[in-house]
């Protein structure tokens, strides 16, 4: 499975959800499909995309949060899985694209290439719903089930270690950050208006 195909297959479901991605290929590929104001790309602070997702989910239990993480990033913040499980935000879906490598920095293999199982680690950390998927059909099904479940899910999508030719896009980091903040504020105001 290609990560780009996986992202394309669920792109329509990302409307009206707060989406946080990690750096590098995931950010560039999602932007190549089409940037939206509800997407935030954490281009550094490696490992903390899931922590940011937790902060958003706790601050805004009325909003749906999707985090697109990677194996290298999760391995840098395994403790964060225990914190996620502890607070169990039911409005958070945590997707880990596992290409078994640090693709953006030379493709060196991570520990998932030698058998470390991130879905099993997430389950052992206490995350109530976990899955590992290897095909596009299984990915879209698992993602839709996670959205419908109304509970914290960590799903690992095994993808090929290929990505775009470059990672720098014309969206500046701060433009993205303030746009995303305004998006979240607008959804809060919309609720208040009702």
């Amino acid at each position: 499975m290609l990560r780009l195909d996986a992202l394309k297959s669920i792109y329509s479901r990302l409307e009206n959800r707060a989406v946080v991605t990690i750096m590098g290929a995931v950010a560039a590929e999602l932007q190549s499909i089409g940037h939206r104001s509800n997407f935030f790309y954490l281009q550094h602070a490696m490992g903390l995309a899931s922590s940011m997702g937790l902060g958003i989910a706790l601050a805004r239990p009325d909003s749906q949060v999707v985090v697109f993480d990677g194996d290298g990033s999760v391995l840098m913040n395994l403790g964060g899985l225990t914190t996620l499980a502890r607070y169990r935000p039911r409005n958070l879906v945590h997707v880990i694209f596992d290409n078994e490598s640090l693709l953006s920095v030379g493709g060196f293999p991570t520990a998932t290439s030698t058998g470390s199982d991130l879905a099993a680690i997430a389950a052992a950390a206490g995350i109530p719903r976990t899955a590992t998927v290897r095909t596009l059909d299984a990915f879209t099904t698992a993602f839709d089930e996670a959205l419908a479940a109304g509970d914290l899910t960590t799903m690992v999508a095994k993808v090929e270690a290929v990505g775009p030719s470059g990672y720098v896009t014309d969206l500046s980091l701060l433009e993205n950050r303030f746009q995303f903040q305004r998006y979240l504020a607008s959804t809060r105001e919309a609720k208040v208006d009702k």
Partner: protein, 171 residues
């Protein structure tokens, strides 16, 4: 009985509440025990207990973008452990952080294992250009926390308040 000051912990906690803080991330350390219990007992406060302090940078960043005011409670060694997240998360993305850091290893420190961190904490804050003030007297706690918060939000940058022995310890 711990000699950590309950009364002064309350002064700090009340100042945070007055500043609209509704989420605190924390990793326990001796000086923070009362503050963490106060957060735990407060139905209006979301307390997030961390595995490692740098998670708190991500959580506070997310909470801020989502419109909630937060504070981080940590030991100075937790600050040391969070520096990459502060630089490549909060500073890169202009996120205001309110960091309350217990200033272990200063004059009066009795635990030998705490004696290295105190000597580098202020230097690192200077190097990172993080504005900070000492909290060492209950008389100025509320004012300094409020002013620190004001600067954090006007600058969109992290600020730090160092919880000192004279404030936190009763002996």
């Amino acid at each position: 009985m711990s000699p950590v000051s309950t009364a002064n912990s309350r002064v700090v906690y009340d100042a945070l509440k007055a500043g609209g803080i509704r989420l605190m991330s924390a990793l326990p350390e001796t000086w923070l025990v009362h503050l963490i219990r106060m957060a735990e007992d407060d139905p209006d406060m979301t307390l997030v207990r961390l595995a490692k302090e740098e998670e708190g940078v991500g959580i506070s960043a997310g909470a801020h973008l989502a419109g909630m005011r937060s504070a981080m409670l940590m030991q100075n060694h937790g600050f040391l452990a969070s520096i990459n997240a502060i630089v490549s998360g909060a500073q890169l993305y202009r996120i205001p952080l309110l960091m309350l850091i217990s200033h272990r290893g200063e004059f009066g420190e009795r635990d030998p294992w705490q004696t290295e961190g105190g000597g580098v904490t202020e230097d690192l804050l200077h190097t990172l250009r993080i504005p900070f003030e000492l909290l060492d007297d209950p008389q100025h706690v509320a004012r300094r926390i409020a002013k620190g918060q004001t600067l954090a939000y006007s600058s969109n940058k992290p600020v730090a308040l160092l919880l000192c022995r004279d404030l936190m310890w009763d002996d």
